[in-house]
């Protein structure tokens, strides 16, 4: 089994990353802040004004370490990619399936079933653990609506457009009761509906940021197994959009990202002072809060679970990689169907 490698986050403004032997060296204010061997790093994420030497970029590309550049506020800007790796036959098969509406719909259907089931698990867990604090009836009804949607998705004849319709409905059902999942700091963290670019409240700000981190991991995982992260089945091609990464991310949104955001708020690890609103209405978080979120995300990735399909113990951080590998095996024809990740 592949080892869960660490991700290096650089948030210090003005920091410079360079290659020293086989290590990544981070300099800031004229001194070396950190030196880490490249073998222990799976990815590097730079926030804002962070420089990176071309030799390091080349070395990372060679070693299969992905580098992403984000704005200070976590918006994705660019990534560094080395020579295209992996199996060309696999990628061609991916393109063929993506061109075929029925095949695409079938894969998209599996992913959506998992996503909705995972969303439902998030709701059900709330009902189980905090039944006294929430409007049980509303949440329960939402959970039932999600169950109904899963049943509708059993139909193999559905077209992609219908699938997208069902996804939209379930997303609004789920986010419609999401505010109920916030059980602490109620007056400061109010969730109305999902919004982005820019996020207009603190909860959306947290969600968007964690989704970006998840996106970086998912895209890197797809590249490792040799799939093209840009060509998706549910998400259609669009320049600059990583369709397949977005597809596979759907399964993890509720389980990894939404739960993380909720526990940050509910356990009071973040508070309203860590956010600021711009004139445009956009809400941003400060450096301290961003660090808290990154630490929490990294720690969550260290947790282990038994993978429902592989029956093997994996860290949460390896889940994107495991799912990317399963997708590659499915496309290659090694397994009959793509087994999405369903949290039990």
């Amino acid at each position: 089994m592949k080892r869960h490698l660490n991700t290096l986050f650089v948030t210090t403004q003005g920091a410079y990353l360079s290659k020293d032997g086989e290590t990544v060296t981070i300099k800031a204010d004229g001194e070396v802040k950190l030196r880490v061997p490249i073998h222990t790093v799976g990815g590097i994420v730079c926030f804002g004004n962070v420089g990176c030497s071309p030799y390091l970029m080349g070395f990372c590309a060679e070693q299969g370490v992905s580098i992403s550049f984000l704005t200070e506020h976590g918006k994705f800007l660019a990534k560094v990619q080395g020579p295209v790796s992996g199996n060309v036959l696999l990628r061609r098969e991916q393109y063929r399936r993506a061109d075929n509406p029925e095949q695409s719909a079938n894969i998209a259907r599996m992913i959506l079933i998992a996503k909705i089931a995972n969303s439902r698990s998030v709701l059900r867990r709330l009902l189980r653990d905090h039944a006294s604090k929430v409007k049980t009836k509303t949440v329960d009804q939402a959970a039932q609506r999600l169950t109904a949607a899963i049943e509708r998705l059993q139909d193999t004849e559905l077209t992609l457009d219908t699938l997208r319709g069902i996804e939209g409905e379930t997303a609004s059902t789920y986010f419609g009761v999401f505010d109920n999942l916030i059980t602490a700091q109620k007056s400061n963290f109010i969730f109305d509906k999902r919004n982005r670019r820019p996020p207009l409240d603190k909860v959306n700000c947290l969600l968007s940021f964690v989704y970006t981190l998840l996106m970086h991991d998912m895209r890197a995982a797809l590249e490792v197994v040799g799939l093209d992260p840009a060509v998706g089945f549910l998400h259609r091609d669009r320049p600059g959009r990583y369709g397949l990464a977005l597809d596979l991310m759907e399964e993890f949104r509720p389980f990894l990202a939404d739960r993380l955001v909720l526990s940050l708020i509910n356990l009071r690890k973040v508070n309203e002072k860590g956010f600021m609103a711009k004139e445009s209405g956009a809400v941003w978080m400060d450096d301290e809060t961003r660090k808290t979120v990154l630490v929490a995300y990294q720690e969550r990735k260290q947790k282990e679970l038994i993978h429902p399909f592989l029956k093997e113990k994996v860290t949460l951080g390896l889940l994107p990689w495991v799912q990317a590998l399963l997708m590659a095996r499915y496309l290659r024809g090694d397994i009959d169907g793509y087994p999405p990740f369903v949290w039990k």
């Binding site: 073998h39 222990t40 630490v295």
Partner: protein, 96 residues
């Protein structure tokens, strides 16, 4: 797995200083310096073979010594640090 590498390289001659530098460089590529001649490396078995071979080929067995301590994969509770220069946790969140 977690391996502690410590070394003693006779550095009174020019050639010794060169060996010392090269041993330190090899260790740095795989682990973290925790004291002057002590490195903590988190490596998989394949990487360990590489590192070990490289280290052994750098030293002069007549003058220098290397010691390896294998702490396995369940090492967290076997390591304790007291005093200054606390090293970073290599598998913890790396945020700079």
């Amino acid at each position: 797995m977690f391996v502690v590498v410590s070394y003693d390289v006779a550095s009174d001659e020019r050639s010794g200083q060169r060996r010392l530098r090269r041993v330190a460089r090899a260790c740095q590529n795989f682990g973290q310096r925790v004291q002057y001649s002590v490195f903590e490396c988190i490596v998989d078995p394949a990487q360990w073979v590489l590192l070990k071979e490289r280290l052994i080929s750098e030293i002069d067995p007549k003058k220098d010594s290397l010691r390896f301590y294998y702490l396995g994969s369940n090492w967290h509770r076997r390591v304790e640090h007291v005093g200054t220069k606390k090293p970073i946790e290599q598998d913890g969140p790396l945020i700079i």
